[in-house]
C-alpha cells in the first residue's frame, strides 16, 4: 500500500493563536507573517475552527504544463520552483484551494508535510498521520473536469 503523510487537525485543542501558520510561513518565505504566507491555514468557520491544507491528492501534478510538480517517494507532492513558469493552473484547479500564492511571489507554494506546524503547536492540535494514497486520489480526480 502506498501511503502519504498529511496533517490532521483537532479543533478542540486549538487556541487560535496560529503558531502553526507562523512556523509554516517561516519554512516557505522566511517570515513569521502567517496568513497568506502560510500553506496551512486555520480559518474560523460557521461551526468553529477548520484547517485548510493540502491532502497530497496530486491533481496539481497533472495540471502542471512543465512537470514542475511531482510526488516524492514518501508520497508528498512538491513543486520544483526552478521549473515553475507561474501559470497558476495548479492554484486555480486545486479542489481544496490549498495551492497557495503569496503576495509578490509568482511561484505557488504548498504543504510539504515537513511537520514544522505540528511541532510549533503548543497544544497538540496538529499531527502528521499516514493515510492510503489511493483513497485520497479517488476523492478528487473525476470531479475536476477531467472527464
Amino acid at each position: 500500500m502506498t501511503t502519504v503523510k498529511i496533517i490532521k487537525f483537532d479543533p478542540s485543542k486549538c487556541d487560535g493563536d496560529l503558531a502553526c501558520e507562523k512556523a509554516c510561513s517561516n519554512v516557505h518565505h522566511k517570515n513569521e507573517n502567517g496568513g497568506e504566507w502560510s500553506a496551512i491555514r486555520i480559518i474560523k468557520g460557521d461551526t468553529g475552527l477548520v484547517m485548510e491544507n493540502c491532502n497530497h491528492c496530486g491533481l496539481c501534478i497533472d495540471m502542471c504544463p512543465v512537470q514542475a510538480i511531482r510526488r516524492l517517494g514518501s508520497g508528498t507532492v512538491v513543486i520544483n520552483k526552478k521549473l515553475c513558469i507561474g501559470c497558476q493552473a495548479c492554484v486555480g484547479f486545486c479542489s481544496s484551494e490549498v495551492m497557495r500564492k503569496a503576495p509578490a511571489v509568482i511561484t505557488p507554494f504548498k504543504c510539504i508535510s515537513c511537520g514544522k506546524c505540528v511541532s510549533a503547536c503548543p497544544n497538540g492540535a496538529l499531527e502528521l498521520v499516514e493515510v492510503d494514497l489511493e483513497e485520497v486520489e479517488e476523492t478528487v480526480y473525476h470531479k475536476q473536469g477531467v472527464c
Partner: protein
C-alpha cells in the same frame, strides 16, 4: 463514459511515474549528419535585450534573395496605431509590398508576429502567433492565427515579428536563436519536408541541450509537400509535449500561407530559447494577472464540464450541437444534419484522445482543447503502418468530414493526420473536395475528368488518394487544378463548359477565393454577413452570430445585425493584435454571465482582458479602447484590400448555397419551413402558393434573399464608417488616428472618387414601400 470508467482512466494515466508512452513508431535519425549538411548562407548577430512591458521593441527583416538580415526598431507611433500582432503584420506588409504584389512575387512577405500580451502564462490562451501574407487563394492579405510555442519564443528571443521576403535557391531554415543571439539562414538538404517528421527532427536538432527542457525550448514553423503543390498550404507550429515526448502541431490554416512558405523554399522557421519564466513578458503588475488568471482557472475547473466540455473533447463538442440545430454542413452544405452524424459525435473521440494531460498549446492554458490521439496507425499513403500522434480533430475538421459524408472516426483521423503533415488546411481542403463531390454527383465531374478518382460523397479512399497524389506532385490536370481550390475549379469547369454555370457558381462554397468554414448559414442572415462581409474571406474568425440571430432572435433588424457585425468582428480582431486565443473568452462563461446586461459579449471576461492589458503594458485602457485598437487594424486591412483591388461590395459576394436552397432537393428537404417563409417573409398569399411550382418558389426566394443580403451590406458598411461601396472613408481613418498616413488617405480618396465617377456610391439593396436605406444623404461621411 461512466464515472467508474472515468475514474479508472484518470488514475491509469494521471498517476504514471515515468511518463506516458504514445506507442508511436520510433525513428532513428543521424542528427549529426543532418546538422553537418547545413551550410550557413547568412548570419546576423544581435544584442539580446529583455522584454519591456510586453514588447521586444524591434522586428526582424529577412530577405532570402539578397541573403539580408536586419532588425527594425518599433516606434511608439506604431504601437499606438497598430498595437501589435496582426496590426504589426499589416503595417510591415504595407511598407514592403505594392498593390500588384501576388503570393508568389519576390517582394511578398511572410510575416509571423506575436503581440504584447503573447507569452504571458497566467491566463489561458496567451501563446498565439499571427501569420500574414498575400494569399494565393484571394490575392489579398490573409491573416491566420495558431497556437504552439513559436511566437512567444520569437518574442523572448528578441523580436515582436519576423518578415521574410524573397526566395531561396534551395531549401533553407530561418533560425531565430535566442540562445546565442543570432539569426541564421542555413540550408537544410537532408530533413524531411512533411511536418510530423520535420518538426520532430528539428526539435531534436536545435534543442540547446539534450534534455526535455532543451526540446521544450524549440518551436518549428513548417508546411509540407501538400503545401508545395496546392493553394491550401497551412503553417504548422510545433510545441513539444513533455508527457507524450512528441513535437505536436497547431495550424495557421487559412489562406495558403504554407504555400507561400514552400514557394520561398523555406523548409522551416525555428525560434529557440533556453530560459523563460513567469516574469519574462515584463508585466508591470504580475500579481494582478495571477489573481485574474487563478480566478479564471477556477471557473474552468467548476464550469467547463457542464458548459462546453472543452477540457475533455475540445471543440469537437460542437458536432452534436450543430447537428441538432440543422447547422452541421453535410454533403457540401446542402443539408444541416445527417442520420449518420452521431457516428462522429464527440463521445466517439473521447476514447481516441488521450485524457488527463494538460493539453494547452501554450503554457497555462487550462482550457486544454488541443486534444490528441496517440499511437494512431496510419491506413494509407507514404506513412501507412506508422504509428503517429494526431493533433485534433477539431470541430472544423469534423465538419469537413461531415461535408464529404465521411462518418468513420478513423477516417477523420486519417484525413486530419495527412492534412497536417502535408501542410494542408483541413478547412479549405475539405470544403473544396465536398464541392467536387457534389459536382461528381451531378455528373459535371466524373471518374475520367477526375484523373481516375471516383470522387463521390463518402468515398474516403478516393479523397485520400487525391491528397496523396497532390502531395506527390502528380501532374494530372484535375489533381493540379483541384489543389488550387473551389474558385479555380469553378473557372476551370466553365472553360471546359461542363455543367450549368450558375449551378456551379452557387454550389462552390468560396468567397474572395477562400473556402468557407463549416457552418450552414442559410437561415441566419447575420452569419451570411459574418462570412461575406469579412476581410480575408469566409471564416468564423470574425463573427459567429448564428445563435444570437437564428436561435435566440436577439438581433432582428438590419441595424441590429449591423451593430453585431461591427462589434463582434472588432472584438475578435483584438485577440489577434495581442497574440491571444479567442476561445477562453466565451467557451467557458462566468456562472453569472446570463444575468449581465449583454451576455453575448461575456462582460466579465472582457474586463479580464482590459485589466490584463493594462497590467502588462502599463496603459490605462477601457473596454472601448480595446475596440478602438481593433478598428484601427480592421480598417487598415480593409483599406489594403481596396488598395489591392479586392475591398468593395462586389468582392463581398457570397455563393447562394450560403444564403438559401440552390437545388430542388434542398428546398423539398425543408419545404414546410420554406413555404412558411414564402408567405410570412416574402408576402406570397397563402392560397396562391400551391399554384406555384417548387422552381418558381425557389426563384422568388433567390431574389428575395439576394436583395436581403445587399441590404445587410448597406447597413454594415454604414455602421463601419465606409462608403456605399464598402470603402473606408478618409473621415473614418482620420477619426481612428491616421491623419498623418498621407499615402493611405490619398489612395482611399482616389478610390472613392473612382467609385463616384462609376456611379457605385449608391446603396445595393432594393428598398420598397416603407423600407429605408441607412441614410438618404449621398455623401453622408463628409459630415463626420
Amino acid at each position: 463514459m461512466s464515472d467508474e470508467n472515468c475514474k479508472a482512466e484518470a488514475k491509469l494515466i494521471g498517476n504514471r511515474a515515468t511518463g506516458f508512452q504514445t506507442g508511436n513508431t520510433e525513428h532513428k535519425w543521424d542528427l549529426a549528419a543532418l546538422r553537418a549538411s547545413h551550410v550557413v548562407l547568412a548570419e546576423y548577430a544581435y544584442e539580446k535585450k529583455p522584454i519591456v512591458k510586453g514588447y521586444a521593441g524591434r522586428t526582424l527583416y529577412v530577405d532570402l534573395t539578397k541573403k539580408e538580415i536586419r532588425e527594425i526598431p518599433i516606434t511608439e507611433d506604431m504601437k499606438k496605431k497598430f498595437t501589435g500582432g496582426r496590426g504589426f503584420g499589416l503595417k510591415l506588409l504595407w511598407d514592403s509590398i505594392n498593390p500588384s504584389t501576388r503570393w508568389d512575387s519576390d517582394e511578398n512577405g511572410l510575416v509571423l508576429t506575436a503581440g504584447p500580451m503573447c507569452g504571458s502564462t497566467q491566463y489561458p490562451g496567451f501563446g498565439k502567433s499571427l501569420a500574414l501574407s498575400v494569399s494565393p487563394s484571394t490575392d489579398i492579405i490573409c491573416d491566420s492565427n495558431a497556437g504552439g510555442y513559436f511566437a512567444p519564443y520569437m518574442k523572448f528571443a528578441g523580436f515582436d515579428a519576423v518578415q521574410i521576403h524573397g526566395k531561396a535557391d534551395e531549401d533553407v531554415i530561418v533560425l531565430i536563436d535566442g540562445v546565442e543571439g543570432k539569426v541564421r539562414i542555413e540550408t537544410a538538404p537532408g530533413e524531411e519536408t512533411n511536418s510530423h517528421v520535420l518538426a520532430e527532427q528539428l526539435t531534436h536538432l536545435y534543442a540547446f541541450e539534450d534534455s526535455e527542457k532543451g526540446k521544450q525550448g524549440v518551436a518549428v514553423v513548417s508546411a509540407g509537400t501538400g503545401a508545395e503543390n496546392s493553394y491550401w498550404g497551412c503553417l504548422n507550429i510545433s510545441f513539444y509535449d513533455i508527457r507524450r515526448k512528441v513535437a505536436r502541431l497547431k495550424q495557421h490554416g487559412r489562406g495558403g500561407l504554407g504555400t507561400v512558405l514552400r514557394h520561398k523554399k523555406i523548409k522551416a522557421v525555428v525560434s529557440r530559447i533556453d530560459e523563460f519564466d513567469a516574469t519574462t513578458n515584463d508585466a508591470i503588475d504580475l500579481d494582478k494577472i495571477a489573481e485574474i488568471g487563478a480566478n479564471y482557472h477556477k471557473e474552468m475547473r467548476d464550469l467547463d464540464k457542464d458548459q462546453c466540455n472543452m477540457r475533455t473533447v475540445g471543440t469537437g463538442h460542437l458536432v452534436e450541437i450543430m447537428d441538432a440545430y440543422d447547422l452541421l454542413p453535410t454533403e457540401n452544405y446542402r443539408f444541416g444534419q445527417h442520420p449518420k452524424a452521431p457516428k462522429i459525435y464527440s463521445p466517439h473521440f473521447y476514447k481516441l484522445w488521450t485524457q488527463v494531460i494538460p493539453d494547452g498549446c501554450w503554457y497555462g492554458c487550462t482550457m486544454a482543447c488541443a486534444k490528441a490521439a496517440d499511437g494512431y496507425t496510419v491506413m494509407t499513403g507514404p506513412y501507412k503502418g506508422h504509428k503517429v500522434t494526431v493533433d485534433g480533430p477539431e470541430y472544423e475538421t469534423l465538419g469537413c468530414s461531415s461535408n464529404m459524408s465521411i462518418w468513420d472516426p478513423l477516417w477523420v483521423l486519417e484525413f486530419n493526420f495527412y492534412c497536417d503533415t502535408y501542410g494542408l488546411d483541413t478547412i479549405s481542403t475539405g470544403t473544396a473536395i465536398a464541392f467536387y463531390m457534389e459536382m461528381y454527383e451531378y455528373g459535371i465531374l466524373n471518374k475520367e475528368r477526375c484523373g481516375g478518382l471516383e470522387l463521390c460523397f463518402g468515398n474516403a479512399d478516393a479523397m485520400m488518394e487525391l491528397l496523396h497524389r497532390m502531395a506527390a506532385g502528380d501532374d494530372d490536370e484535375f489533381v493540379k487544378i483541384a489543389g488550387k481550390g473551389a474558385r479555380r475549379v469553378k473557372d476551370w469547369l466553365k472553360i471546359k463548359n461542363w455543367g450549368d454555370q450558375q449551378l456551379i457558381e452557387d454550389c462552390g462554397m468560396e468567397s474572395k477565393g477562400l473556402e468557407y468554414s463549416e457552418y450552414v448559414t442559410k437561415e441566419s442572415l447575420a452569419m451570411q454577413g459574418g462570412y461575406g462581409l469579412t476581410l480575408k474571406g469566409p471564416q468564423h474568425d470574425e463573427a459567429w452570430l448564428i445563435f444570437m440571430d437564428m436561435v435566440n432572435n436577439q438581433i432582428p433588424t438590419f441595424a441590429d445585425k449591423a451593430e453585431a457585425l461591427h462589434y463582434f468582428p472588432m472584438w475578435r480582431t483584438w485577440f489577434g493584435l495581442n497574440g491571444l486565443c479567442k476561445l477562453p473568452w466565451n467557451d467557458v462563461e462566468p456562472a453569472d454571465n446570463a444575468e449581465t446586461g449583454e451576455p453575448a459579449k461575456v462582460p466579465g471576461h472582457v474586463q479580464n482582458y482590459v485589466d490584463i492589458q493594462n497590467a502588462i503594458t502599463g496603459w490605462n485602457v477601457t473596454k472601448e479602447d480595446l475596440i478602438l485598437q481593433s478598428e484601427r487594424a480592421y480598417n487598415w486591412q480593409r483599406s489594403m484590400n481596396v488598395w489591392m483591388g479586392r475591398g468593395r461590395r462586389a468582392d463581398d459576394w457570397i455563393p447562394y448555397r450560403s444564403m438559401g436552397p440552390v437545388t430542388r432537393l434542398e428546398y423539398v428537404s425543408r419545404q414546410e419551413m420554406y413555404d412558411k417563409q414564402m408567405v410570412e417573409d416574402i408576402g406570397v398569399p397563402a392560397d396562391s402558393l400551391e399554384a406555384m411550382s417548387i422552381e418558381d418558389r425557389m426563384k422568388m426566394m433567390y431574389h428575395y434573399r439576394q436583395n436581403r443580403y445587399q441590404k445587410l451590406a448597406d447597413a454594415v458598411y454604414f455602421r463601419r464608417g465606409w462608403t456605399h461601396n464598402g470603402v473606408p472613408t478618409v473621415q473614418k481613418m482620420i477619426s481612428l488616428g491616421f491623419a498623418d498616413e498621407t499615402k493611405m488617405l490619398e489612395m482611399l480618396q482616389q478610390k472613392i472618387d473612382e467609385d463616384e465617377a462609376a456611379g457605385l456610391n449608391t446603396w445595393g439593396g432594393d428598398y420598397v414601400g416603407d423600407e429605408k436605406p441607412p441614410t438618404d444623404d449621398a455623401k453622408y461621411w463628409e459630415k463626420w
